[in-house]
Structures are given as C-alpha cells and as structure tokens.
C-alpha cells in the first residue's frame, strides 16, 4: 500500500521542483535516493568545528549547510515569514498573566490581529515566548535563523531541549542540541564526530509527520472518553501512510503549499492539485490515481459549491463542534509544564462554521481577544494597551505583582469585588479605557460596575480548519441529510461564546460555547434553513411520492402516446 502511494505520489513532486535545476552552482546527487549527509559542522565564520580537543566554537546552521545548499533561498518562504499573506491562518497569541491579556497578533495582514508594534513586543520576549514554535528564517518574527533540522532531520529531535536553549538566548546552538550533536551543557557530543570531524545526519526532504507536528498539533482541551485526544496525526491520509509533505510541498524557496482552494503560489505554478478538491475531484486527468473520486450519491450538487470539503470531512466529529482546543503554538504543546488546565488561555474553539474567502461554508477555529484597550475618543482610534504599559498602574492601584486574575480571585469571597476592583482600576487610567473579554469591551459605569459596549477590537479572530480529515464513514452526512437538516441536530455552530474572565454582574451566565440561533446572524437565511429542517423528515416520503407519481405518469403518457400514434395512422 505504502509502495502504491509512493508510486502515485511521485507525480506530484514535479509540481514544484524542477524550477531549481537551472542553477549549476549547487550540488545535486542526480539520484532519486536520499543523499546521505556525512558532513562537517561549521561556526558562524565558516570554520569547521573539530570533533576533538579544546574548542569554544558554536555551530551555525547557515554556515553548515551553505557549502552545498542555497541557504539564502531556503531561509525564506512561508515559515521564514515571507510569501503572500493569503487567507488567515493561525495567529500568535500574546498571553500575559499579569494583566490578563490574551491578544492575537501576527506580522501578516490578517483581519483582527494586532501587530508586534501595537503590542510593543521586543525581540527578546518574542524569542522567549514564540521562539520555540518559530521555524526561523530571514523574516522570522522572533528574529531567529532557520532551523533546518527541525523539519528535515528524521528520527529523534529533542524539541524540549530546543525550546530551553532558545529561551536561554542560545538559538544558534538549539538545533544542534536538539539533534544530539551537542549535549545539554552546550558541549560537543564527541562520539557523534568521526576522525575527520564529520557527523552523519539523517536528513530528508520529507522527514515524516512527526517533524511538522512539533508545531502543528491540535487537541481537545478537555480529554474524556467521548473526546479522546485527536490531532492532525489522526488524519485519514496519514493513517493511509501519506505524510504532511505529500500535500504541503515546497521547492527550495520553501513556499510551502497551504492547500487552500484557489491558492496563488508565489512560484506561479498551479498548486490546485494539492487542495482537497483538486486532488479528489480533478477536472481532466487525475494527478493522483490513488485518491478516491467521491460519488456523494444523492447529495444535491450545490452542496459541493456552497460548502468546503472540510465542512463535512474535517475537524471534530459530530456533536463536538465548538469544542475548546489546544494548539501547539498557542498552548506550548510539547514543552513539559506543570498544572495544565483545560481552561488555559487562550481559548480556541474548533468547528465553527463560517463563510470563507470563496464564500463557502467552512469549519473554522475561533478565538477571542482579551485584554485592555484605549477606547476611541474624539480624535483617536481605539487601540490595544500593551501589557508593558499596564504593569505600573496595575501594581499601584491593585497591587498586582503576579497573576492578575489569581490576585483578584484570591482577595475575596464576594464575587462582585473583582468587578469593582477592575472598574476602579479603569477609573485610574489616564485616558478612557476598557477591558475586553467575552466578545465585548467593558467600560466603567457608575456604582463601580462594568457595562458592556461594542468594539471592533473585541471581535473574534478566525482561521480555517483543515485537519484531521476523518474517515469517510465519519463524515457529516454519512447518516443521511438529517446530520445537518433536522431540528434536533446541533449543526451548524456559528459562533463560540467565551465566558468573561471575571464574573460580571451585567453578563448573564454565558456558557463556554453556544449554539447560536441562526436568526441572530445575517450570513444565514434562517427562516429558509428552519423550513428545510422541518421538511426534511418527510424526505423519504417525498422519494416514494415522486417515484410513484413518476412511474404512473410515465406509463400513462406512454400509453396515450402510443394510442395517439396508432389512431392517427393514415
């Protein structure tokens, strides 16, 4: 089976490689076999690091690969912070417990995100918090060089060690420690070097799913018997022996294909074949013969136009839509940590159905910003207050030195007290400010209470969900149309609703996620939807009815037609 897959997958590499071959400066093995890397390590000046004897040389990734590869190009692309922004993907989250801030940000221009400048984040804090989950590159948000090994080294790569070294400000050394070439004290593992100062590295263009899953896991925040932890690794394609890179391909410039419908790839090459639709429902010749062409018998065809494939095939199983999840990048998965709780910020919800950039219904992740904003005044726009600016005022008025929420929760038995403290704090701010939480901005109101006002900054951010693709038998619709079209099904979940970070007198008790009534939204013609929900249980009856009437009228009209032909014979 694996062999068959490899055979059929081998059509695909031609999609992106080949553009590389024009440049003769770089070595090529000319063989389809993986080249065995038996190479020297080098420091930043390009000096070979010797395997024995005294040395304080620190290895450098660029210099190590540069003799044989165009590292400049390899350090760009999607993971290097370059390439087109395209439709929104998962953002970074600033989680600052001292001020209760959980704000989504990115250097890419996606809706609803703050910029690094707005949050006043410096390189060091970015490196410490986001660094472990940044693959690095020329435009890296945390200012690190590309870690080629995390994606290309097959087998054991110690992600935890890498994180530790990055946090300690030793990004250069991190990948070499993770690969076991240096030990946790930062010294050479001499046994790895041969007497010509060379090491063997098991490098592959496709080092297998584990390499990518360091940063791309998604799992339910709350584990239970009904909610076993699923991840991208639970994807049917991986179960069938495919690897992430079979679909998320790239050339040397590392513009990794995202797989979106209608994706425009910087290389100008069509990458349509690497999207769900392009691979499974190709127009013309199939690109991958082993990809089953779905029949979707009985499904009115507009469903395939009005919805993405992922709407039925991906994400949490039915009834789990709107589930709260953890992601590697937002919740530091893979880094051992004590006291993880299901409610750990930021709250991210999966399986929320929204229209995508192609105007199709698609499952999304959804997350809500929390933190403090300066409300819009006469001549100023509303903007986020960077947590750094809140330190002093919070310490002065509320005496917060650690975790803001713990502090106000621990001070008192009276739940209204938390609200009063924050309200008092807002009163002390120099310019009019508000607390953003649960989808609203909360302003100070008389009586030291907080009252909700609407603000653009308080809205959710969302990005499309692609994985895991469930087996066909677990798709929505596999139990019939009533998986979606029935009054009792929870589908569709259109909005998640996070609880406010502290109890608010003005906020009724809002549950974590809610199945919002479609009537309150303008993206959905709810009366039509409700009508169909109501009509659907009679669908089997309708089938019988139309089959019966169809058969009867066909017989009768055929009889009359034959009779007419006979009767009119001259």
């Amino acid at each position: 089976m694996r062999f068959l897959l490899i055979l059929t997958c081998s059509f695909l590499p031609t999609i992106l490689s080949g553009q590389e071959s024009t440049d003769d400066r770089w070595k090529r093995s000319g063989s389809p076999e993986t080249y065995v890397h038996h190479i020297e390590l080098r420091d930043a000046r390009g000096q070979v690091i010797s395997g024995t004897g005294e040395t304080n040389q620190i290895p450098n990734m660029e210099a190590t690969c540069a003799p044989c590869h165009d590292v400049q190009r390899a350090s760009g692309g999607l993971h290097g912070g370059k390439g087109p922004d395209g439709p929104a993907g998962e953002p970074w989250f600033l989680v600052d417990s001292r001020s209760g801030t959980r704000w989504p940000f990115h250097s890419r221009l996606w809706p609803g995100l703050a910029t690094v400048e707005e949050l006043d984040l410096d390189q060091e804090s970015l490196r410490k918090k986001q660094g472990p989950f940044d693959a690095g590159g020329h435009h890296s948000i945390s200012g690190q060089a590309s870690d080629c090994l995390i994606c290309h080294l097959q087998g054991s790569y110690d992600f935890q060690q890498r994180s530790q070294f990055i946090k300690d400000g030793k990004s250069d050394l991190a990948p070499f420690v993770a690969a076991g070439l240096f030990d946790s004290a930062g010294l050479r593992s001499e046994s790895r070097f041969d007497n010509q100062n060379r090491v063997v590295l098991d490098l592959h263009a496709d080092a297998g799913p584990q390499a990518c899953l360091h940063c791309h896991k998604v799992t339910p925040a709350e584990e239970s018997a009904e909610n076993p932890r699923w991840t991208h690794a639970g994807d049917v394609h991986l179960a069938a022996g495919m690897s992430c890179v079979d679909c998320h391909r790239a050339g040397l410039d590392h513009h990794v294909v995202r797989g979106k419908d209608g994706e425009i790839h910087p290389s100008g090459v069509s990458v349509e074949a690497l999207s769900c639709r392009g691979c499974h429902l190709p127009q013309g010749d199939p690109v991958m013969l082993s990809a089953p062409r779905p029949e979707h018998r009985g499904l009115p065809p507009f469903h395939l136009e009005a919805m993405t494939c992922t709407a039925c095939h991906s994400g949490a199983t039915q009834g789990e839509e709107g589930l709260s999840v953890w992601t590697s990048r937002a919740h530091d998965l893979g880094i051992a940590k004590q006291g993880r709780k299901a409610g750990d910020p930021p709250g991210i919800f999966s399986g929320i159905l929204l229209k995508d950039d192609q105007n199709r219904w698609a499952p999304h992740y959804q997350a809500w910003p929390e933190g403090w904003i300066q409300t819009s005044g006469e001549n100023q726009e509303a903007e986020v207050i960077p947590p750094g600016d809140l330190r002093t005022p919070l310490r002065r008025t509320l005496r917060v030195r650690g975790d803001l929420l713990e502090k106000i929760a621990s001070t008192d038995e009276d739940p209204a007290r938390a609200e009063r403290s924050l309200s008092a704090f807002l009163g002390q701010m120099k310019s009019p400010s508000a607390l953003v939480t649960s989808g609203h901005a909360w302003e100070r109101s008389p009586g030291d209470q907080l009252k909700p006002i609407s603000s653009d900054l308080a809205g959710p951010v969302q990005w499309k969900l692609g994985h895991p693709v469930r087996p066909a038998a677990m798709s929505l619709g596999s139990n019939g149309c009533t998986d979606c079209h029935a009054p009792e099904t929870p589908w569709p979940v259109l909005v998640s609703q996070p609880a406010p970070m502290i109890p608010m007198s003005a906020a009724g008790t809002i549950s974590q996620t809610q199945h919002i009534d479609p009537e309150s939204l303008d993206t959905f013609d709810s009366s039509l939807w409700n009508f169909w929900e109501w009509v659907f249980p009679t669908r089997d009856l309708a089938k019988v009815y139309f089959t019966a009437t169809g058969a009867l009228v066909l017989l009768a009209s055929l009889r009359w037609f034959l009779k007419a032909m006979e009767g009119n014979r001259p």
Binding site: L281, P294, E295, H296, R297, G298, L299, P300, P301, F302, H303, L304, E305, D525, L528, F531, A542, K543, Y545, F546, T547, T549, G550, A551, L552, V553, L554, A556, S557, L558, W560, F561, K563, A564, M565, G567, N568
Partner: protein
C-alpha cells in the same frame, strides 16, 4: 375537456416560472424559488396522475408527445433523488429534468396553437 385540465395548465406554468432562476447552465435552483417549485411541482405531479388516468376524449399526437416528455422529466428527477448517480452527474440529471419539462411545455403550447388553428380553419 377533462376536469383536471383546468388545474393542470396553471400549475404547470407556475412550476415552470418558479424554476426560471435555475435555468442558466450550471446553476442550481435554490432558495425560495426551489421551495415554491417543489410545492407547486408536487401538486402538479398529483394532478398529472389524475389527468392522465382520465384523459380528455382524445389526445393529439403532439400533445401526447409533450405529456410523455413532461412525464420523463419527472422520472429524470427521481434518478439523482434516489442517489443512483454521483453528485456531479446529478447536475446532468437535474438539467435533463429541466429541459425535458421545458421541451414538453413548449410542445404543448405548439400543439394547442395548432389545434386552435385547426378548429378555426374548420369553422
């Protein structure tokens, strides 16, 4: 005249009108027009059964052919509905359903006008 014919023709025309948004090639009939089309169409199907089992004294060649087309159109609808074909092929069957019915209606109009002419000529 068959007593059902009085209902039949208006229902047929209403069904036809409600399907107009779905006529362009590759476009599916959706939304309220679809609801109307299904409602009127169901009624029409019933009346058609009654009509054909108690037809007028005599159906001409042309009009009997048009009823045959319209009936086949109804059968073409049943094919994707019962899930006998894939969703993509379903498009084609729905279009066939549409064109057969429209063809039938057109022919019916033609036969009616010819019949009228014939009766006018006879007078």
């Amino acid at each position: 005249m068959n007593r059902w014919q009085r209902f039949l023709i208006p229902l047929l025309i209403l069904t036809m009108l409600s399907s107009i948004p779905g006529i362009p090639l590759g476009v599916d009939l959706r939304g309220y027009p679809l609801v109307l089309h299904l409602a009127v169409g169901s009624l029409f199907a019933a009346v058609l059964v009654l009509f054909l089992f108690q037809p007028p004294t005599k159906l001409g060649r042309l009009s009997s052919l048009s009823w045959l087309l319209i009936s086949s159109g109804l059968v073409a609808l049943v094919v994707p509905m019962l899930g006998w074909v894939s969703a993509e092929t379903g498009h084609l069957w729905l279009e066939t359903h549409g064109w057969l019915s429209i063809g039938g209606l057109g022919l019916l109009g033609l036969s009616a006008s010819l019949e009228k002419k014939a009766t006018a000529d006879r007078d």
